[in-house]
């Protein structure tokens, strides 16, 4: 093992969070910062000839190599876990920019009550009415505290959208259910596709409040406060699972790297796989990593920032033996608890007219939040606490992925002449009315190290113990009924069937929103990091990312992750560096 020259701050992970921490610290302090990224270097020019559905959308060329490391999954404590042998229900990224390169761009703020959900639900229903296994907690930070940082994140990326609640004033056409915003969005909404405009017309007629999803896909040329200029979206339909070839979608490579490249106190080490956070007497002393050639290094550091994806944040803490692993039986320990994903249900709808659905953008969608949180619940719904948002998206249908989409019963077989004829008849006539629902956390859904399966170095894989509960089934059934009403209003043909009550599956893509494991909170007894994302047991270690979420709200997590990154970094710069001890 080679010992390297000490640095002030070692950051693990070169995605949105790690690079944003680096950008802030190198701008406002003289601290030397090194970011360790295990994947390859990336830049906008790399995406010039990559609009290829097969390699990127289907073979998932930008994602982590599961041959080197994956997770294992089991549904309950009684089962044995098996490896997720190829990507399915979520898509962890790799390389500079991480999942921030291949994301779709949805950039919401969470509802204010999300951050105080335990208090909110207890007040609304009484503690006795909540499920016994419910593990939601207050986050330790509030919407009002994050509001200015949400705005900073929106400016950083130039989010396109329309305000629905400007300083308390409700504005038709925006999301009137959002928390109060101090500023209008940096850029106007994206143009509407045929499918999204049909949805808007229908739901408006039904009395709901449609709005264009706020998106990191720019609607027009925009210059951010760092002086980075990016062009408007071309609606090319190659967005989610691809990198943007023109830089219209905010990605760390087009938003953060150009700024960081000019900083003298910044260094990026790619191909550097961090294996352990090294610590002694309650303080991190540095990190141990293996480079692409297999050589091992020790990088001494005064402060360590763990800013990789949820999975690796949790796993690296466990491998480094930092904190107490969660025990779901004794309900003791904190590391790995409150694992959440996303609750979804789609109603597939068919139209008489073609949609030209090959056009689109990662987050060109129209949406209603009338049922987000508990906004649409009357109190009569048995055991249903939270629902989610309903939307129609035009992401750009590829010819491979969309071929064969047809109403049930249109063909007996799924191959041969009859099937081909039906598939050609129904091509480009279909969309999905989707629901992205809030996923509550439960005592039994958690992460730990797998006792059997290992990564390419022989280190244990991360194990998920995760299954749906009755609440998620109720969320889906409730949303599917609303979707059916909307489908009818849109004049669409659809298959009316209650949503499946099947176990969690690792095959079908749901979203890349995996949360928890190193959750934030108000007490070291029930959380891993404090409200500034500083580790309760190790003051010179900050753990940043959606790993800090005590549960998952309905909207996509990236904007909240960025706001929390600013929140933690400001605490580091304003207070921690001056007095490097516990902030609380």
């Amino acid at each position: 093992m080679t010992n390297l020259k000490p640095v002030d701050v070692a950051i693990i992970g070169g995605g949105w969070t790690g690079l944003l921490v680096a950008k802030e610290i190198t701008a406002k302090t003289s601290q030397s910062v090194v970011v360790f990224e295990r994947g390859i270097p990336r830049k906008t020019a790399d995406y010039a000839v990559t609009m290829d559905e097969l390699d990127y959308n289907i073979r998932l060329r930008m994602m982590q190599n599961t041959a080197e490391e994956t997770i294992t999954h089991r549904h309950s404590l009684k089962d044995s876990a098996v490896p997720v042998r190829q990507h399915g229900s979520f898509h962890p990224g790799t390389g500079v920019g991480g999942a921030g390169e291949h994301w779709g761009g949805a950039s919401f703020r969470f509802l204010p009550d999300v951050f105080t959900l335990r208090s909110h639900l207890t007040q609304k229903h009484g503690a006795a009415k909540l499920p016994e296994d419910l593990a939601v907690q207050d986050w330790g930070v509030t919407y009002d505290e994050l509001e200015p940082l949400y705005w900073k994140s929106e400016q950083l990326m130039g989010i396109s959208g329309k305000a629905g609640n400007l300083r308390g004033q409700k504005i038709d056409g925006g999301n009137v259910f959002e928390g109060p915003r101090q500023q209008e969005y940096p850029t106007p909404p994206l143009k509407r596709s045929y499918a999204s405009s049909m949805f808007e017309t229908a739901v408006r007629k039904m009395g709901y409040h449609p709005y264009p999803t706020p998106a990191a896909n720019l609607s027009e040329t925009y210059k951010n406060p760092d002086g980075i200029t990016r062009p408007g979206c071309a609606y090319c339909g190659h967005c989610q699972r691809y990198g943007c070839m023109i830089g219209a979608k905010a990605q760390p490579t087009n938003t953060l790297m150009p700024v960081l490249a000019k900083r003298k106190n910044f260094q990026l080490r790619t191909g550097s796989w961090v294996r352990r956070i090294v610590h002694k007497d309650g303080r991190a002393t540095g990190i141990q990593f293996t480079d692409a050639s297999g050589e091992e290094f020790f990088q001494p550091a005064t402060t360590v920032v763990l800013a990789s994806f949820t999975l690796n944040n949790t796993r690296l803490l466990a491998l480094s033996k930092i904190g107490t692993p969660y025990d779901p039986v004794a309900r003791k320990g904190t590391l790995g608890r409150n694992l959440t994903h996303q609750v979804q249900v789609n109603t597939r709808v068919f139209f008489d007219k073609p949609l030209n659905a090959f056009m689109g953008a990662g987050e060109l969608s129209s949406r209603i939040s009338d049922f987000d949180g508990d906004l649409g619940l009357t109190g009569a719904e048995d055991g249903l606490l939270r629902v989610g948002m309903i939307a129609v998206s035009s992401n750009g249908d590829g010819p491979i992925g969309s071929f064969g989409t047809m109403p049930q019963g249109a063909s007996k077989s799924n191959w041969g002449s009859e099937w081909k004829k039906a598939a050609l008849e129904w091509k480009d006539h279909s969309a999905a009315i989707g629901m992205a629902g809030e996923h509550l956390s439960y005592r039994q859904n958690y992460m730990d190290l797998d006792p059997t399966y290992t990564d390419k170095f022989g280190d244990p894989l991360l194990r998920f113990t995760l299954n749906w509960t009755d609440h998620e089934f109720k969320q889906r059934e409730f949303a599917a009924q609303i979707q059916a009403k909307i489908a009818r209003e849109m004049g669409a043909r659809f298959d009316e069937a209650p949503p499946s009550r099947a176990r969690y599956n690792v095959i079908n893509y749901q979203s890349t929103h995996i949360q928890g494991g190193a959750m934030m909170g108000t007490s070291p007894e029930t959380s891993v990091v404090n409200r500034y994302l500083q580790h309760w047991n190790m003051p010179n270690l900050f753990v940043i990312g959606a790993s800090a979420f005590p549960h998952n709200a309905a909207p996509n997590p990236t904007l909240t992750v960025l706001a929390l990154t600013y929140w933690a970094t400001e605490a580091m710069m304003d207070r921690y560096f001056k007095h490097p001890e516990k902030l609380i």
Partner: protein, 220 residues
Amino acid sequence: MKRREFLTVPAAAIGGTLLYTLAGEPVRLQAQNGTVKLPLRFFTAEEARVVTAACARIFPSDASGPGATEAGVVIFIDRQLAGPYGRDKYRYTKGPFVESYPEHGYQGKESPREIYRAGLKTLGDFAGLSPADQDAKLQSIEKSRFLQLLRTHTIEGMFSDPMHGGNAGLIGWQLVGYPGPQMTYRNEIDKHFGQPWRPKPASLEQIMGRPGKPWEDEKD
């Protein structure tokens, strides 16, 4: 070293297609009388004949339009199996291998290459059967992983960019009215509502003016 195998096809079916030789050199095939010999990367000539016949039943050339044979789907599959996907370079293949719930997906040890090799054996002299007997044979193995892969790969070979070896002459994209990976729809996205808008298809290379780098050509 393995004897080099070729697939012999009528040139008219794939004229104008850009193909890559085993050495990775691009060759533009010209439609002319006679036949063309295409170098195979994975299949034997006999296997390629069986795959061609099976794909033709999955995605037939019939009254509703051209199918897998005209698109050169067998070339696509041959290259996928020869490349990193075919040998599971990016799949987690450490043991123990255990059966689990269907929600855990394919847990087997065999790579796509191995599944094809074994699956093709069970098809025997498939190319010599009548279309009705071929359909019956495929139906009898409908639930097998081999047939599921073959069906998926046939669709992929019909509609993926021609740099992958299928969709010859953009025949698949013409069939479904897909214009290819166009650079921009900025002036089109909010127009043509309810009307089919079908610009002339172009491949990634035609649009970008330089070839893409298909994953199957990745060096080890």
